[in-house]
């Protein structure tokens, strides 16, 4: 069978991947397919299993159960030095006793490439990450951002089938982080290498990913494009983790085709637009993003989907105003950029009306 | 298995198959542990198995002149622990050990405090001055005490010359010289242990205490002293074990009237050649040392808890 003619464009396949540490289940039955050239993100809070999953792809951890396939070939039991992956570590892990050039050349040396080729490839790679001129420096003489680039160059130069990045930007300061995001994305697109990026920073994931895998307690919560994840979270956790969400618990009161009416626990009703015709559980929670709530000083004419609350406080944020509104026992956060939220002169204890469009209501299982 | 007659080249390993099996099992399960194999093997073959041998021999019957027969007799232990002569030896050893331990702790504590609080060059110099005796071998230092304490030695010559005394003092081959020698041996270790504990103390706690109204002495007692007690205790226990088990110092700096447990053991093994009896004494000494070590282990746990808080 000619592998090259194989129609699978999946560079990485994870099948039932599980990792158990003593009594904790770090990774629980993860199934994932990563396409060639894709920039995939593993996103989640600390302890969710994303780094462990990454390490299992790279071979630095052995799975307790399940299979890892790279380019169609199962690599369980194959040690990291024989896998076609390269990792960029969170704290860079540069060899302190080798120069920048020697660090980058290391992988090629292990492959026993001829010296001239190594020299040329190292030079090209350092150009690509904008570090020409620093070949003879030692890691101790470099700044954080420079070390990051060396680590990146070192991984890229071996032309791996899969590039693995373990929270590579978390040790950098904000401005540098934003700059590196742009660089990494650019390089990835140029080279078209399949990349798996682990982070807990959702802004990073939303900005750079082709697809995001949201993980929680070792399991996959949701897989989708940044747009899908942000606007159509399927669970309370995802909705809460990505961006901000207000949650209104309630019970299903009526169903009308692809819309439902939810009776809220704190009073009032909301009509919500569902994204599909799947059955809806009875106990639900409606999630609404702060920027999708429209504020009114007086009850608007169209009475549907309007909730009444009291202003607790208003914080001036420059481009917006941030409202804390009491609704029943609940505190709702609103950042209304279009309507009355832009007006000044709001007082606390003032009555306010919250209008929420049906399509802005995310119906999530409780 | 017939008698273990001296000189028979019987591999000891064959006598302890169960232990070896268990170790093998553990190593097979976790590949990572293989890096410890040489160390564990070494400890096993040259320490733990010989200790078991020692225990076994201590139960044997002495036939005389270094030959012994397998038996199960507690004679050795009973003799050692009941005969008034040996009881005197035990008592003497303990007395000396307690004395050395107390002095080293009391005198060492302020020094440890001083060095732990010192900074820069002063600290490095002090540490160096402690490290040098630590690594200089004991026999050489004992010789130094010979020169200092001897009849025609330094102290006597000095005191005679300034007319402080008329006749040379007898300072060597006394309990005093044994204590001095043991102190010299024990001090560097005790100092380093206590210094490392002191350095783990958060000095801002003292500032907090002063801020809350404690006097210098009170803040020292409530904070520093109480936090350093576990380290204090560990240092003391080590000093005790080593003073008890030390051989060179009492044998050289003491006269034949100063017999310690270690001297008895060496005597029985090397001179009298009553190996079973010697083994009983040795094993008793071993058990005392090990118990003391376990106690000190517990105390280090406690001190670790303090630091984490």
């Amino acid at each position: 069978m000619d592998k090259r003619a194989c129609t699978t464009m999946n560079d990485v396949e994870l099948i039932g991947l599980t990792k158990r540490f003593k009594d904790t289940l770090a990774v629980d039955d993860v199934n994932l397919e990563i396409r060639h050239g894709e920039f995939l993100f593993l996103l989640g809070p600390s302890g969710c299993g994303k780094t462990t999953t990454l390490r299992m792809i790279g071979g630095l951890e052995a799975p307790s159960a399940g299979t890892v396939k790279i380019k169609g070939r199962a690599v369980n039991g194959v040690p990291p030095e024989k896998r076609d992956t390269a990792t960029v570590f969170q704290r860079w892990a540069l060899f302190p006793h080798k120069t920048v050039a020697e660090n980058v050349a290391f992988g090629l040396k292990m492959k026993k490439k001829p010296r001239q080729d190594i020299a040329r490839q190292v030079r090209e790679c350092l150009e690509m990450v904008d570090l020409t001129g620093l070949e003879k420096r030692y890691p101790a003489q470099l700044s954080g951002g420079q070390k990051q680039r060396v680590a990146l160059a070192r991984a890229l130069v071996v032309e791996p089938a899969v590039l693995l990045l373990d929270e590579p930007l978390s040790a950098l300061d904000l401005k540098l982080r934003q700059q590196m995001r742009f660089e990494i994305k650019r390089i990835q697109k140029d080279i078209n290498v399949t990349t798996v990026f682990v982070t807990h920073d959702q802004t990073e994931a939303l900005a750079m990913a082709d697809r995001i895998v949201v993980m929680h307690k070792g399991r996959i919560e949701q897989i989708g494009s940044p747009h899908e994840i942000y606007f159509n979270p399927v669970s309370r956790f995802t909705s809460d983790f990505i961006g901000e969400t207000n949650f209104f618990p309630g019970r299903l009161a009526a169903r009308e085709g692809d819309a439902v009416v939810v009776a809220l626990a704190d009073g009032g009703r909301l009509r919500a637009q569902l994204t599909d015709n799947a059955p809806c559980p009875t106990d639900v929670v409606v999630g609404v993003r702060p920027e999708q709530i429209i504020l009114h000083r007086h009850a608007p004419a169209a009475g549907e989907n309007v909730l009444r609350g009291k202003v607790l406080d208003v914080t001036f944020m420059g481009s917006t105003q941030r409202f804390h509104v009491a609704f029943g026992d609940r505190m709702i956060v609103v950042e209304d950029v279009g309507g009355a939220g832009r007006e000044s002169g709001w007082h606390s204890a003032e009555d306010v009306y919250l209008e929420i469009q049906p399509h802005a209501c995310l119906v999530l299982p409780a | 298995m017939t008698g273990d007659v001296k000189g028979a080249a019987v591999p000891a390993v064959n006598h302890h198959p169960a232990l070896i099996m268990r170790v093998k099992q553990i190593f097979a399960a976790h590949k990572f542990l293989w890096i410890f194999l040489p160390a564990v093997l070494m400890a096993l073959i040259f320490f733990f198995i010989p200790i078991f041998s020692l225990l076994r021999i201590s139960f044997y019957e002495n036939v005389g002149m270094g030959v012994y027969q397998p038996a199960m007799r507690l004679d050795g232990y009973i003799k050692f622990l009941t005969d008034p002569f040996y009881l005197r030896v035990i008592f003497f050893t303990l007395k000396i050990a307690v004395l050395v331990t107390s002095i080293s702790l009391v005198a060492g504590y302020p020094v440890a405090y001083y060095v732990a609080r010192a900074e820069g060059a002063k600290k490095i110099i002090c540490l160096l001055l402690i490290i040098v005796p630590l690594w200089t071998n004991l026999i050489v230092r004992i010789y130094g005490w010979f020169v200092i304490l001897g009849q025609k030695g330094m102290l006597n010559t000095l005191l005679l010359n300034i007319g402080f005394i008329d006749q040379p003092l007898s300072m060597i081959f006394q309990p005093l010289s044994v204590v001095i020698g043991l102190l010299d041996m024990v001090f560097p270790w005790v100092l380093l242990i206590m210094i490392s504990v002191m350095e783990g103390i958060d000095w801002s706690l003292i500032e907090a205490a002063r801020d809350l109204g404690a006097s210098r002495f009170q803040s020292f007692y409530e904070v520093t002293f109480k936090l350093s007690i576990p380290g204090f205790a560990v240092g003391g226990l080590f000093a005790f074990v080593w003073s008890m088990g030390e051989y060179a110092v009492p044998s050289l700096l003491g006269s034949s009237a100063q017999r310690t447990i270690s001297i008895e053991v060496a005597d029985q093994i090397l001179t009298v050649l009553n190996w079973p009896f010697g083994a009983s004494i040795a094993f008793t000494l071993f058990m005392i040392s090990v118990s003391v070590l376990f106690i000190s282990n517990r105390l280090t746990q406690k001190s670790a808890d303090y630091m984490l808080r």
């Binding site: - | 028979a8 080249a9 410890f36 001055l129 200089t136 071998n137 026999i139 230092r141 051989y247």
Partner: protein, 273 residues
Amino acid sequence: MDPSSAETRQRIDWPAVALTVVTVCVLTFILAPIAITMLVSFNKGSYIVFPPEGLSLRWYKAFFDDYWWIMVFKNSLLIALPTMAVSTTVGVLAALGYMKRTFRGRNVINLIIMMPFLVPGIIIGICLLMFAHRIGLSNTYAIVIAGHSLWATPTVFLLVQAVLSGYDFEIEDAARDLGAGPIKTFFLITLPCIRTGVLTAMIFSFITSFGEFSIALFLTAPATMTLPVQIWNSLKYEVSPIVAAVSTIMIVITLAAIAVGAKFAGVKTLSER
């Protein structure tokens, strides 16, 4: 009582003074025998008197001329060098494994490795004496090397641990990730980075074996006798200033070792217990 600022300046800080005095006394106490020995070794006269009657190197000459002392010195070397090799190898490997990560049984391993060092030396001497008889290794260099390695490995173990606290184990993962097998990683990455630690361990395991007495007393025969045992014999039976010369030589070796070790690893690491 609230003293005025003028009074505080004049008041002597008694506790601090007392502290300094005690420290000076104790440090003098532990250094005195070493210093005195060195001075006495240059004594012209033939008694161990102090102050020395005159300066001369005759006792050093006597040492180098005495074939017995030289033989004993050679024995010490013949034992200390292999001990250095064995204990450094074993101890470095053990320390690497110990510091790399926590694992179940880590404390047990620590105990197993450290125990031989923590019990009095004569116990090891006695046990190995009996053991040597049973396996036919009595009166050989081998059994002394074994005993000394057992004694020196814990020292190496502790020393290398102190050095490893500054070592980033993740670079080994990086090397594996880039294609180096475990053995290549060890020789290309691990060893070069812990070079100073290994050297320091070698130096101090050598010193430990060279100066070790209690174990050697039980395990050496006249033919394999080591320097400390011979000094002990001399002190027991006849005290000649040659002993002072020998002792000074040993002291100087120790000082050199400490100097080199301090340079490589820093004084702080050397004082880790």
